[in-house]
């Protein structure tokens, strides 16, 4: 390596390191808080060395039904993902293969739906759910999240299918598939990384969604994201409990992102135009 390239490399790595530290500092703080005793949390200066204790986790399990919270989060996310893909993939495909010039306009219109501020939709949706008797159920959160995420999945899969050569489906049709068969047997498997990326986005959106479940769920159906807020007491904030509870809300997403990272990058960059 020439000395110029070496310098360049060092500079780049240093910059990356600084940015990474900057982003990870709050996370590190959150994690350390959960493993400290209450006295250590507020020690000034904050100690880097401390005796890890499980006190915070014990109080989390004492005050929260963690399994019920986790269950709600999983049900809401899974329901949203399944419904959004079921609706969004065929819609994206249909738009991508449409010969109409309006198709691109439609696709971007769907993307625009995703950009609607959540609060704006909250009140009318709340009233609708009340009239339908779904208030307080997982369904209400799943439905509103599906609406927003389907719009996103449709746009994402539209870009993905458009970039995919039509030859593949035509080959499948001459190979004996019906049009529907070529969609299921060839188009969908070929779009696998796009679909996985859509799953990741949907899970992230609905797992982290706070506003809708806050107003639409009740005590036994509320997910982790809402429970985090209850760590805010009326007089003080139990930072340790918050940190411990945050573990449960963060780890699943981080794990998923780690395992599916490859598809995530592929899906987010391929074919988007």
């Amino acid at each position: 390596m020439s000395s110029l390239a070496l310098k360049h490399n060092i500079a780049r790595r240093t910059a990356l390191l600084v940015i990474t530290i900057l982003f990870l500092l709050p996370v590190a703080w959150l994690i350390s808080t959960a493993w400290k005793s209450s006295d250590d949390i507020f020690s000034i200066p904050p100690g880097l060395l401390f005796n890890p204790s499980l006190t915070q986790f014990n109080s989390v399990f004492a005050y929260f039904d963690v399994w019920s919270l986790l269950r709600s989060s999983v049900i809401i996310s899974a329901g949203t993902v399944v419904l959004s893909l079921l609706l969004g993939i065929p819609a994206g495909y249909a738009l991508a293969r449409s010969t109409s010039k309006a198709a691109i306009g439609f696709a971007y219109f769907f993307l625009a739906i995703r950009m609607v501020p959540a609060v704006a939709a909250l009140i009318p949706f709340y009233l609708m759910m009340r009239d339908l008797g779904l208030l307080g159920t997982w369904w209400s959160v799943v439905i509103i999240n599906t609406m927003l995420n389907t719009a996103f999945v449709t746009w994402m899969m539209f870009s993905y299918f458009r970039a995919m050569p039509r030859d593949l489906e035509e080959a499948a049709m001459t190979d004996g598939c019906t049009q529907l068969g070529s969609f299921f047997k060839v188009a969908i498997p070929s779009a696998r990384s796009g679909i996985i990326a859509s799953v990741l986005f949907c899970v992230m959106f609905s797992w982290n969604d706070f506003l809708y479940p806050m107003f639409l769920t009740r005590l036994d159906t509320k997910p982790l994201s809402v429970a985090l807020l209850t760590a805010y007491g009326t007089k003080d904030i139990t930072w340790g409990t918050l940190g411990a509870l945050a573990h449960f809300s963060t780890i699943p997403i981080v794990l998923m992102a780690l395992f599916l990272n490859r598809y995530f990058v592929q899906g987010a960059t391929a074919g988007v135009h």
Partner: protein, 375 residues
Amino acid sequence: MAQITFDSVSKTYEGGYAAVRDLDLDIKDGEFMVLVGPSGCGKSTALRMIAGLEEITGGELRINGRIANGLAPRDRDIAMVFQSYALYPHLTVAQNIGFGLRTRQVDRATIDRKVRETAELLELTEYLGRKPAKLSGGQRQRVAMGRALVRSPNAFLMDEPLSNLDARLRGQMRSEIAKLQRMTAVTTIYVTHDQVEAMTMGDRVAVMNRGTIQQLDTPRALYDRPKNLFVASFIGSPPMNFLRGTVEAAEGPAVRLGDTLLRLDPRHAGLGQGRPVILGIRPEAMRVGGDSGGLSATAAFVEDLGATLLLHLENAELDIVPPNVAEDDVDLNVVRPRLRAVTEGTARIARDEVVRLAVAPEAIHVFDPASGEAL
């Protein structure tokens, strides 16, 4: 096995653009038919009509005597090889080849056997477990061939299957495909823009331009007796030279080109005195160093191709018409049309040397300047 008939078939798009106009073509059972022409001539559209991938807006397409206009692609039992190969990226080579059999619910043992046989034939056995992304261009092309071959379909449709390969591999696959077709004797329709592929592979060749067939004939007949200027300029490489002149009767028919008088074949005796014509002379029909009575021109530059020399010649006296074919050097040729002549590689011809060219009267094609038809 199939016989495929186009009966004044047309394809007009919504905007009014006609890709194919009143196409009449009868492809015999077991025949290797090549559709050749420049891009946009309608050859691919015609092919996709046979596959059922393109809607027919007029006329009738018959497969084995049965009208196929509205038949779904899967009901035609036709295999297609795409220019992009269109291999299924999520399946292995073996699954790609066996896909058509699987959708037709052939039993597993038969699929396995047929896939193995096909792979052996195409020398793909060691790659059967690989995904297409891990194959070279030539291997992908062979998988695409295998996918078509394995099914023993009614007909093979090939849409420029070799254009993504490098020149050496293309030459190799050209003879390979022709051999496979003779072996299987399955009706094959092959689309290409490459006249070398058309000449070497087809039993018959349909030269197309602007949605219609210009000439349908054997490769030899296309080369020897082109029906019009388009076919004359499209078939043959390097392309035919075209020269404007007027008919003049000496002892038998002849044409005046500037200072020179070129003798024509006696079959052209009926041409009227003073009639303007375009003469077509193939570069390989020009004999360099001929005796008096031929053309003379100055060598502008000489391409040494090893076995032969390709001479680019200039003569301000001659009214040279550029061939109306899209070629790499077409721009250069339109601005300053030159004569081209091919001679033995052993000849020593320098730049700016004046060359005499003799042309045998029977090698001269005569065309009507207005209609472009051969006379």
